[in-house]
Subunit: 213 residues, 2 copies
DNA sequence: CCTGAGACTGACCGTTTGGTCAAACATCAA
DNA sequence: TTGATGTTTGACCAAACGGTCAGTCTCAGG
């Protein structure tokens, strides 16, 4: 007995687990947990269904594996927000990192969105724990910047929500964005420019000084 | 044979169809199309499963009925944007109407989000037709306002996307918002205030004149 | 060559799911 | 009361689903 679920030792085990997770990300992000089937995942992975279940105990185990790996990388951009840096540049950098994530990892964004939409039944503790405490920590930093007059004094929690909403929208609602814009557009490039302007205007300190055009 | 699917005549038919649609909205918005079952819908409606199928031809027919009724009410707030009104006030009113919709009709918002997330398989034509043409029309109006210097000249399509993203976020990601804010908050009231400030700052004409605090 | 642990599969199982159907029940005008 | 129409249901079905299992194949180490 090799017990691949607890000890992914051999090369072939690591490799196949990787292939399965990749395929499952495709399927789960496109159809949701309930909408995805083991047969779809197995087919996408190029393996038989029993073989998939040889590497993961159940459909839910695959899903949990994806979600648990997701939270860390999802929080990384916010974690990188440096209290010692320049306030405006730190926040704009955060927005840029989030837009890049939406562009480069849209499936992860949709997997996350699917989970939250349905009440986050499998992520409740991570959201109320890890995520909340990180947000509270960074919100305090941003509130401090506002109190010092280094940026406009806006509610930091809702500022963070607005960054999430605006950046993830382009990944989660990709089909709608592309349909409305029509052909010949690069949604993520345009979004990057638009959001840079938006947050620059929003956060410009209210000292009567406008940022140069 | 009464054929309730094409002619909802009698009082009891209209009433039961209504009850079923209401129950289905609950279930579909919470679990997605695939995640919802006819038994759940029937139980929520207080009817037997065969009785539900007496009023609707199939599970998909219920879903389509909900979606088709949704598009109109979903576009209404944008449709009400008046080209002859005051630019800033028109856009702020639009934001207010959208926030109210997120607050009062979160299930509809989540139903919509679920559908778009999964590639809008049953709404593609409505999005590329109705929705796109309305957005293009209103975007032209907003672009005109920008060109006249009555508001800041921002990309009107992405302005509309940002309004969608910011307002719908509070309905679609409700559990996350509440978990992060913690108890003792009214997310929609706070969002209303925050977004009013955000769009006021964003759209203030760049005539060197800052809006009064 | 053999051996044995690891990797893989076809056949199968119990449950759930969307949907059907014949029969029963309700309602009401004639 | 009767009959006709509209409404409701228990029993049932085929397909799809997640998952199991006995057994086969593979292949490196001895």
């Amino acid at each position: 007995m090799s017990d691949p679920n607890t000890r992914p030792n051999s090369r072939i085990q690591r490799q196949n687990r990787e292939v399965i997770l990749e395929a499952a990300l495709d399927v789960f992000s496109a159809h949701g947990f309930r909408g995805a089937t083991l047969d779809q995942i197995a087919a996408a992975a190029g393996l038989s269904k029993p073989n998939v279940l040889y590497y993961f105990a159940s459909k839910e185990a695959i899903h949990l594996d994806l979600l648990s790996g997701l939270m860390d990388s999802w929080l990384a951009p916010l974690r990188a927000l440096d209290p010692a840096g320049d306030p405006m540049e730190e926040i704009l950098d955060y927005v840029r990192r989030k837009i890049e994530m939406s562009r480069d990892y849209p499936r992860e964004s949709r997997l996350f969105a699917n989970e939250i939409l349905q009440g986050a039944p499998r992520m409740a503790e991570a959201i109320e724990g890890e995520l909340k405490s990180l947000v509270d920590e960074k919100a305090a930093v941003i509130r401090g910047w506002g109190a010092e007059g280094r940026i406009a004094a806006v509610d930091p929690h809702h500022l963070i929500f607005s960054i999430w909403a605006l950046t993830q929208h382009y990944a989660d609602f990709d089909v709608q964005v592309r349909a409305v814009l029509g052909p010949g557009h690069d949604p993520f490039a345009e979004a990057g420019q638009f959001l840079e302007g938006l947050f620059t205007r929003l956060l410009a300190p209210a000292t009567g000084q406008m940022p140069e055009a």
